[in-house]
């Protein structure tokens, strides 16, 4: 308990340090690079941004746009998981499937999700579907690759044990492969979710209407730096919360038995 309190206070100290640095940068015009007056516009003080934030929260503008992006991410990421996880597992189990699909995935995975934006807008129009398509394209490959790696790293002797117990294919998947690969799945999902947020923001900035990226781009075009800063902070908070909600549960479960050998 006491250790947790200390850890929490240390975390607060880190945040306080950033706020202090921000304040100094704002006061000194980004350490003397720009004059005082522009500094107030280009890098407003934390308290000014906080005031703007409470305005945006009151009007519901921020939350409604976060919700738009969040829905896109959840649907896109959900599709990516629904396709990528089974595909990764099957690729791990079948050499033929692996040999066929691995080159395809290697080809697509280094392409940034944002690169699909022009095509997505042409194919799906300026709307949710374009955003969801881009998210799927951006987050699919880390999910596939990580579940595949997980299956390839399953202790081969566990298969021997399962076979001697005369387990069916399905039983091997459920009782041996899936529990084995949970740590890999978690890191694949984390990567995938990170990509999903990145590409949805980018897509909303270049044309897909509404959402957090749209807020960001409006903030830029109206030279409202507070809005830009608020969007950045919101993104950080959202990512942290999503990781807590989605992955803490899985990680807690695995930490019960997982030991690094």
């Amino acid at each position: 308990m006491k250790k947790n309190v200390i850890q929490f206070l240390q975390g607060c100290a880190g945040i306080a340090g950033i706020l202090l640095l921000w304040t100094i940068a704002s006061k000194t015009g980004i350490f003397g690079r720009i004059d005082q007056k522009s500094a107030q516009l280009l890098l407003p003080m934390p308290n000014v941004v906080a005031g703007e934030l409470s305005e945006m929260l009151k009007s519901g503008y921020l939350l409604s746009n976060i919700w738009v992006s969040m829905q896109r991410v959840l649907i896109g990421f959900g599709i990516a998981v629904a396709v990528g996880l089974p595909l990764g597992i099957l690729m791990g189990m079948s050499t033929t499937l692996r040999n066929c699909l691995y080159p395809v995935i290697r080809f697509f995975s280094p392409i940034p999700g944002v690169a699909w934006v022009p095509l997505a807008i042409l194919w799906f129009g300026l709307g949710n579907n374009a955003a969801i398509f881009i998210i799927v394209m951006g987050s699919l490959s880390p999910i596939i690759v990580n579940s595949l790696q997980g299956v390839l790293n399953v202790n081969q002797q566990l298969y021997d044990v399962m076979h001697m117990m005369e387990a069916s294919h399905w039983q091997v998947i459920v009782h041996c492969i899936v529990p084995s690969i949970i740590p890999y799945i978690v890191s694949g999902f984390k990567l995938g979710l990170g990509f999903a947020w990145r590409v949805v923001i980018a897509a909303e900035m270049v044309g897909v209407p509404k959402g957090l990226g749209y807020v960001l781009s409006v903030g830029r075009s109206t030279a409202n730096t507070s809005v830009t800063l608020i969007t950045i902070i919101s993104l950080g908070v959202i990512m942290m919360l999503m990781e807590e909600v989605l992955f803490r549960f899985l990680e807690k479960r695995t930490s019960k038995w997982k030991t690094w050998e």
Binding site: D160, M162, H163, M164, M165, E166, W257
Partner: protein
């Protein structure tokens, strides 16, 4: 159950794909019902390969293994194997690890609970039912692995250097426990080991292999009464005989 091994030959493709490496060359052996037999020999001589062929986990290129007249084609739950590194399911508790095979076989809950309780008492791990493997010592893990095999009521127990990773005190303790388990004469046991004392302590017969490819150098019957006295003259004589067989020619290589 009696096991008849007929003219088994097995080779593996070399790592660099430069050809085949012969592991077993025309091995024939008969193991009688409820016998405790050990395979001894230098490491890499193919004795574990033979064990895996008996288990049905590997297919030989030629030759066959018959259990009570029925050829072995695939792994079956009446032949269970125990491994050197335990191979427990790390995400399952002790009792769930032991229950796994019964669950796969679709046994009902009441039967599983009764069997698991019996097994935990047999291996003396009461109080550890809810522990995870990483919380157990090596000896305890191997007890769980043995219990997991025995709840399936195997006719044949295959053990691949089961005590090789344990300290010598734990090892002797588990060997004595194994003697008691086998005294009930419920299954045939094949043990792969490189420890000649272990082989003499446990076995009815000891098959000494030379490698490679492995062939049978000598089969030694151990007629000493159980529990065997590790420091008796007769015990040491048999042990030394095996040692001299397995270490002969060793100096050439060193």
């Amino acid at each position: 159950m009696a096991i008849i091994i007929k003219n088994i030959t097995k080779s593996f493709t070399k790592n660099d794909n430069s050809g085949q490496l012969a592991i077993l060359n025309d091995i024939s052996l008969e193991i009688s019902n409820q016998e405790f037999i050990s395979f001894v020999g230098p490491s890499g001589c193919g004795k574990s390969t033979l064990l895996r062929i008996i288990a049905g986990l590997l297919t030989p290129e030629s030759g066959s293994v018959e259990v009570d007249g029925v050829p072995v084609k695939k792994p079956e739950s009446d032949r269970m194997m125990v491994f050197q590194d335990y191979v427990l399911f790390p995400w399952q508790t002790v009792e769930k690890n032991i229950a796994m095979g019964l669950k796969m076989a679709g046994k009902d809950r009441e039967y599983i609970d009764r069997k698991v309780k019996w097994a935990i008492e047999m291996i003396g791990l009461q109080g550890f039912e809810k522990s995870y493997p990483h919380q157990l010592s090596g000896g305890m893990k191997q007890r769980v692995a043995i219990a997991r095999a025995l709840v399936m009521n195997p006719k044949i127990l295959l053990m691949d250097e089961p005590f090789g990773a344990l300290d010598s005190y734990t090892k002797m303790k588990l060997q004595s426990e194994l003697v008691q388990l086998c005294a009930k004469k419920e299954f045939t046991t094949c043990l792969v080991t490189h420890d000649s004392e272990e082989a003499v302590f446990l076995s009815d017969r000891i098959v000494v292999f030379t490698g490679s490819p492995a062939r049978i150098q000598e089969i030694i019957s151990v007629d000493l009464p159980r529990p065997r006295d590790r420091v008796s003259k007769e015990f040491i004589a048999v042990r030394d005989h095996i040692l001299s067989l397995t270490t002969s020619g060793m100096t050439d290589h060193i």
